[in-house]
Amino acid sequence: MKKLLTMLTAMLMLISVLGAAYAIKDPIEFQGEFPFSEEPITLDVFSMRGVYAQGDFNELECWKWLKDKTNISLNFEAYTDDIIEEKLALKLVSNKLPDLFFKCAMDSSNVLKYAQDGAIIPITAYLEEYAPHFYYQIENDPSLKAFLTMSDGEIYGFNYIVSASNFMTPPVFVNGEWLAELGYDEVPEDLGELKELFIKVRDTDLNKNGEKDEVPLIATSLDNLYRLFSGAFGINTRGRTSVYIDIDDNGELRYIPTSDGYKKLLKYFNELYVEGLMYQEIFDSSIANMTAVGEQNRIFMGKGSQHYVGPTYKDKFIGVNSIFKGPDGYQLNADVGNPIFAMNTFITPENKYPEETVRLIDYFYSKEGVELMFAGFEGVTFERNEKGNPVYNDYVQNNPDGLLNEEVLGKYIPWGGGANPSMAEDHVFGENMYSDVEKAVCKERLKYGPEVVWGKFNYTDEEYQRLSIIENDINTYINEMRAKFITGDADLDADWEEYINTLNRMGLEELFTIYKSGLDAYEKAIAE
């Protein structure tokens, strides 16, 4: 009976998910024709070069191919992401604007600022005619349109869309051998039973090294663990991208860090932490920390990529499909991200060929363009599998020079890490970047995601200014207090009121009003 009910709920959820949440579509096939410009033209481009880009950024095979096809050659000034910010700022003050900013991810507040300074131009008027592939996504996903449209009603840039389903919700995994040894078929959904399991892990020498040093629960950061459990306490009902606000049971906008569910979650975390059921260095954990513990064969359950536990014991881990259920009966995978990432490619007023430029960038949102951006060239860097999807070939996967996959690709394509005016979606990215275990568990967990996953809201200029003053202080304080409540340095019952009062003194009310107007604008933009 219980199973039937779960299945029914799952199906209902699945239907609503398909109905509303992920309106980002698979990229459409290239429509349009080469060349994009009758006369050969050259554009000066200021670009971020990804971590893995190899050699001279001007010499990538991708640019040569595009030049032959489109008649547009690109002349790059490219910097790695460690210095791109300084270089970008100097570029803007020295009044020597390029024709195009490429791969330079910017917050919407910065986009608005540069737009007002006249450093970038609106592309709204060009999209329908010259950017059919990008426009297709905008048409189909009102939330994308809401994100791209600044408070002055214009669209200024191309953004990165990360819609690979494995990325939307991160994998959770458990040591399958240990789980069986403790007599469980699967990880329990109920948080109380889960805690009992963790206690058994703590008190049993599962790795048989003579010490009780097993870590029941670990992640690369506290935020990651928080997001794994927040759904069980009925908070973060609009997904992980909207960290501090969501909609409560009554359909009202709610500020999460002062909510009842948040307090209960901290209480649970406090128990886990104090009783040694959670990684004790969680507050400054990292991938390296997780690998260190993993290589000592001490991890029971973890969140993040399976790669992070290190190669030695990686294969012992299986996916966790259970969606945790809190004391008040909430059961939701709140850890679902919005696929809409920051804008990263902009045209400047110096550009004499905006139509051609828009067509060129838009190519990366077509199916062929996505393959070019992430997989390179058929026969050179990839071959097609039975589904017709590109898969990196042997030269990439087992490179004779011992290079990583991404480093091999770095000679051919501009992706190389970082943001792109393109789509990291399932048929290329999802196919190549994740293990089968991860693919399966993510697919399963994604079914229990929120109905609506919010992206980032846009605000007006004055609101951004107020936000930059208030938000940072409040968030720092919240993180500080969260750590204290979890370690027990602050008492959840005694100090909670003081915590709320301090937040109010710091301007929580104004912050909430700004969030509210951000939401109103977002909903209005979606409705249009």
Binding site: S94, I287, A288, T291, A292, P311, E406, G417
Partner: protein, 294 residues
């Protein structure tokens, strides 16, 4: 040990024990850098590398030198250090000598102007625009000319010339008919070896470690100094939260970075470490031995 009382012995033992502990505290991190750089990254992460290297491999050094920008960076840094230090030394010595002359007119004003720059400067953006207008942007000279003199170092040299070399020596030379060049090259400089050594060390280490002006003023990767290349490699090996997009790549890079950073420390600091022993003798050498009698 003959003739030592028991309490002396206890005292000696005590001193040796403390010194040994201090020595270990200082030396161990250096030693760890060396053994970690030649160990397997997974062993380093798991904390197995404590006293001896584990799963010996030179992979991290291979990776450092496989990155062609490390070798160009090396070449550039050596160039910037050698040429830069030479320019620094010539100009600083000339300035310090002139300012130490007792009969230089307007000395107070010049000194005042120089000291002024130690406390006030134009700020990053105006400096950038000036460098841009001078046409130095993205040339190798931007690493050498804007920093041709360090006021602080000139002050140190001037004070040394004034206070540590008796004016009577210069007077004697003037009586013998020496020009300023004679005095500088035949009297002052031979007596100033210690301060020259210190200055060379200051300037050279400064050039060797500098990356900020390169970061701001250089665009061409082939002109980047070693430090900027190392900075990039280090920063990029630190994985960020968003990197779950490409978890395998991120993981591999983190793993590479784990031992590569130690290899990089060795690669980057070995030349400077080698310089110290050669300059060290000047620090301890007596200076004025026998030049002036009573």
């Amino acid at each position: 040990m003959v003739g030592k009382s028991k309490s002396d012995l206890v005292f000696d033992v005590f001193v040796y024990v403390i010194l040994t502990v201090v020595l270990l505290i200082v030396v161990y991190p250096l030693y760890f850098v060396v053994i970690a750089s030649i160990s397997d990254p997974l062993s380093v992460l798991a904390g197995d590398v404590i006293l001896t290297p584990k799963n010996l491999n030179l992979e991290s050094y291979k990776m450092v030198f496989r990155d062609s920008s490390v070798m160009t960076g090396y070449r550039n840094t050596i160039f910037y250090t050698v040429v830069g230090t030479t320019v620094n030394m010539v100009l600083s010595t000339a300035a310090a000598y002139a300012l130490s002359c007792r009969n230089l007119k307007g000395k107070g004003f010049i000194l005042g102007m120089m000291v002024f720059t130690m406390f006030f400067n134009g700020g990053l953006i105006p400096t950038f625009i000036t460098i841009n207008n001078l046409g130095l942007l993205d040339t190798i000279w931007v690493m050498i000319l804007p920093t041709a003199i360090s006021t602080y170092n000139v002050m140190i040299m001037r004070t040394f010339f004034l206070n540590s070399i008796p004016y009577e020596l210069q007077e004697a030379a003037i009586v013998d008919g020496a020009s300023h060049f004679n005095i500088l090259f035949n009297v002052i400089l031979p007596l100033s070896k210690p301060i020259l050594a210190v200055m060379v060390l200051y300037y050279a280490v400064w050039h060797w470690n500098s990356y900020f002006s390169a970061m701001i003023y250089l665009s061409d990767h082939n002109k980047y100094p070693l430090q900027l290349v190392l900075r990039r490699i280090l920063i990029q090996s630190q994985a960020s939260e968003e990197s779950l997009i490409d978890a395998q790549g991120t993981f591999n890079r983190m793993l590479q970075g784990e031992t590569m950073k130690y290899a990089l420390i060795i690669v980057a600091s070995a030349p400077v470490l080698c310089m110290y022993p050669f300059l060290q003798k000047y620090f301890v050498q007596g200076i004025m031995v026998g030049s002036v009698k009573g």
